[in-house]
């Protein structure tokens, strides 16, 4: 509140100091961001008119703040927080981040195409995402439900990653980085807009780190388990390839990413500090996506066809129950593969209307899960699943008078076992072209995923699972002040019902099962100010207040901080085009699954970019600058209640431009 007051008081003062846009050079004008969003309505529209509260992160910001994963990026965004269990990163938004969940209530898109896998429904945001953030042109964060446009998983938010074009790279470069925790990275990239409008980009990244050498977990502090110290079990290895070719309306994007992560926490009942083999997981993502769009008079036509493949291999050393061997190795294999086709028409109609209609067909030809033990001959689980889904949707935007926008959307989704109709509506009042007031209502759903529907693990009862739903209301006030400051005030309240929840069930193989039984109500307030300052400086500050309550227990949700505060500032460095960027993040205290309260977490990161001549750029980052000791709540698959996070780490890099046309 103090923040808003302060802004309001100092605005007139700042406004008098600003100079006008027409005095800027074209080069500077072309660097400005006019706040266009694609993912809110599957067409480009100004953020003020979008039926959602939207944030962006640009390629320039990713470089300035040294973000290395999508998780780093989302951590910096208003109202978002990330919980790391030293294997996967869980997104928290609007007070909801149940430890042990697989990010299936956030829809993750690459260039508008769904990349949540079709087994866990998971949005993978760590290094396992499959695409190097250096190849992100822009990340759109679209808050609120969007199932009326996208169907499944667009529950709390949609995150749309737009990838880089050859024109934006315009040349070839290699990058090498090294840092603490034995971190090393090599990246090569080349891109160029060619003759006749063809645009080509290719990039490849290898990254590895040994991680924290000795991690201490008090829950395992016994002489038999190395006094709770996991040694040399925090390593990660990543390989990523990305390519994109665009030619007159057609864009073909291909990517492959693989990550192997050692797991030091002895999750899923594995033997603590086991090395032969260590507990580890391997995630692989493949995507080939062809997107074609063209204008036919006043109609915009878009069609796309995509192939996604996701594989997951988990290796778990467990105490053996058979024969003489001291350990048994459990192997969990997952293959998720799908083909999808989509068509969409957007047309301007008389009476200031814009209508979008689309249809989508998805063939999940593999949703397979296997589970085998080294001391048993036959696999204990060999589940081959496949399914199809169909959907049609429509969105209409009407502007009856210049200052009013009415937006309504509806989507029908047909699954093999059920169907859903989801609406969204928005009333947007724009007293001028620089501010808007929005009332937004939307319903969204998340279907039970193939993992939850596994009757071998969770019993026959899971076949009765139905989608969980959420109804969200939101009031948003967005304003541009004199072309240098953008402020947002947003308040929301939601009711999430029939949440698919894990409960104990001694009759199943997993001793747990999934049922539709949770209900959560929440409300929150978010404030944000984004500023462009003199000498190419920029700053952003945000605050979120949130309260999410489990309706059964009337308690706050675990891992749900009441306050989130973020501030960041990027200043010009000592030489031309260099920058020094500081980011501070604060999470208030959270409760763990056992109800224990953990201390608030306050961290700061510092990144410096230093171009040297035409060909070289040095970078240096210090993460967790003040070496804050903090932990995230652990999930039910962990013995420990909290998972300690990294202290201060450092990273330096050099980029050499080999060719610049």
């Amino acid at each position: 509140m103090a923040l808003v007051l302060l802004l309001t008081l100092t605005l007139p003062l700042a406004a008098t100091a600003q100079s006008a846009l027409p005095d800027l050079s074209f080069e500077d004008l072309m660097k400005l961001d006019a706040g266009q969003v694609f993912g809110a309505s599957e067409r480009l529209q100004p953020v003020l008119e979008a039926p959602a509260s939207v944030s962006f992160i640009t390629a320039d910001e990713i470089a300035r703040y040294g973000y290395r994963t999508l998780a780093d990026i989302l951590r910096s965004v208003r109202g978002f927080y990330v919980t790391d269990d030293r294997n996967f990163s869980l997104i928290g938004v609007r007070g909801f981040a149940k430890p042990g969940d697989y990010n299936s209530r956030i829809l993750l898109l690459i260039n508008g195409h769904r990349v949540n896998d079709n087994v866990f429904g998971q949005a993978e945001i760590g290094a396992e995402f499959g695409l190097d953030p250096a190849m992100f042109a822009r990340v759109e964060i679209i808050r609120g439900p969007a199932s009326s446009l996208y169907g499944d998983s667009a529950f709390f938010a949609v995150v749309n990653v737009i990838t880089r074009t050859g024109a934006s790279l315009d040349g070839a470069s290699v990058t090498a980085e090294g840092g603490t925790l034995s971190t090393r990275l090599v990246r090569g990239s080349i891109g160029r807009r060619l003759a006749r409008g063809a645009d080509l980009v290719f990039s490849s990244t290898y990254e590895a780190r040994a991680g924290v050498d000795r991690l201490y977990f008090p829950a395992f502090d016994t002489p038999a388990t190395n006094h709770g110290v996991a040694t040399g079990l925090d390593g990660e290895r990543i390989g990523q390839v990305y390519g994109r070719l665009a030619l007159s309306g057609l864009a073909v994007t291909g990517l492959y990413g693989t990550r192997r992560r050692d797991v030091p926490t002895a999750s899923f009942g594995t033997i603590f500090n086991a090395h032969d083999p260590p507990e580890h997981t391997i995630d692989r993502h493949t995507l080939v996506d062809a997107d074609y769009s063209r204008s036919l008079g006043a109609t915009r036509l878009a069609v796309r066809a995509s192939f996604d493949r996701f594989t997951y291999d988990g290796t778990y050393p467990l105490p053996s129950t058979q024969g003489d061997a001291p350990i048994a190795i459990a192997s969990n294999g997952v293959v998720g593969e799908r083909w999808s086709v989509e068509g969409r028409l957007t047309r301007r109609l008389p009476g200031r209307q814009t209508m979008t209609a689309g249809a989508e067909f998805i063939d999940n030809d593999h949703q397979d899960q296997t589970f085998a033990y080294s001391d048993l001959r036959a696999p204990v689980l060999d589940s081959r699943r496949s399914s199809t889904q169909r959907a049609v949707y429509m969105e209409d935007e009407i502007r009856p008078v210049r200052w009013l926008l009415l937006n309504g959307g509806l989507r029908y989704d047909d699954y093999n076992a059920f169907s859903r109709v989801t609406p969204r509506a928005a009333v947007i009042v724009m007293p001028s072209s620089t501010q808007s007031f929005k009332y937004l209502y939307g319903r969204a759903f998340r279907t039970p995923n193939a993992y939850e529907l596994n009757s071998y693990l969770f019993g026959e009862g899971v076949e009765r699972l139905r989608p969980e739903t959420i109804d969200t209301h939101e009031l948003v006030w967005e304003r541009y002040h004199h072309d240098w400051l953008r402020t947002t005030v947003s308040t929301y309240w939601y009711n999430a019902d029939r949440l698919i929840s894990l409960i104990p069930d001694p009759t199943t193989a997993a001793a747990t099962t999934y049922v539709n039984q949770g209900q959560v109500r929440a409300r929150g307030l978010e404030l944000e100010a984004q500023m462009r300052l003199p000498w190419r400086s920029q700053a952003r500050a945000s605050y979120a207040l949130q309260q999410a309550t489990d309706q059964e227990t009337q308690l706050s949700l675990p891992n749900s901080p009441r306050h989130l505060a973020k501030a960041r500032l990027s200043l010009p460095g000592p030489i031309a085009s260099s920058s020094v960027s500081l980011e501070a993040l604060y999470l208030s205290s959270r409760t763990t699954l056992t109800g224990q309260r953990i201390a608030p977490a306050a961290t700061a990161n510092l990144t410096m970019l230093l171009p040297l001549g035409r060909s070289w750029q040095l970078s240096a980052s210090l993460n967790n600058l003040f070496d804050a000791q903090y932990a995230d709540p652990a999930s039910g698959q962990n013995v420990q209640d909290t998972i300690p996070q990294n202290g201060r780490t450092a990273r330096v890099g050099v980029r050499c431009t080999l060719w610049k046309p």
């Binding site: 600003q18 846009l21 072309m30 400005l32 072309d483 462009r532 700053a539 501030a567 500032l569």
Partner: protein, 177 residues
């Protein structure tokens, strides 16, 4: 770190930023940015001498987009074009458009846009639009967005016919969408 101290830190950071003093307009709305581009085109284009009668103003016509017209009003306030004062005029397709120095058109169909620019062939009118393939329709400057940033592409043939001289600097910044 308590909530209070966090708020205090945030307030301090903001205060610091405001003391530094913003003086550079940057993060912008779409109409303000488009208006700045249109005004930029005017700065880098030469009109033939007979494009004005003595004390007549430079006329920027806007068809189909009141938000752009409003933003242009703000942009050109107190500015001159080749010594002439600038007026912004909201026009329809039926108005005589040859009296415009600049015509920005938006929210019209491709056929209608083609018809309008055909009617301006040989006239000293700098046509600008955000319509797809505006150059193919006979227009001069097309504005388009890429990753949230505004770019433009230029066609010189209709400009040459209208005796408009577009500076090489502008041409060098023109891209093909």
């Amino acid at each position: 770190m308590s909530v209070r101290s966090v708020r205090r830190t945030c307030a301090a950071v903001l205060l610091l930023l405001l003391v530094v003093g913003p003086s550079r307009a940057q993060d912008v709305t779409e109409p303000a940015l488009k208006a700045a581009f249109i005004y930029g085109f005017v700065k880098f284009t030469l009109w033939p001498d007979d494009a004005w009668t003595a004390a007549a103003p430079s006329v920027m016509c806007v068809l189909g987009d009141d938000a752009i017209a409003d933003a242009l009003d703000q942009t050109v306030r107190g500015r001159l074009h080749a010594g002439h004062r600038i007026t912004v005029s909201r026009v329809t397709a039926n108005d005589p458009l040859r009296g415009c120095h600049v015509l920005y058109l938006s929210h019209v169909g491709a056929a209608q846009a083609a018809q309008i620019v055909r009617g301006l062939r040989g006239a000293a009118v700098l046509t600008v639009s955000d319509l797809d393939r505006f150059g193919d329709l006979g227009g001069i400057a097309q504005l388009y967005f890429e990753h949230g940033q505004l770019h433009f592409t230029l066609r010189t043939e209709p400009a040459v016919l209208g005796r408009l001289e577009i500076s090489s600097k502008l041409l060098s910044l023109s891209k093909r969408p």
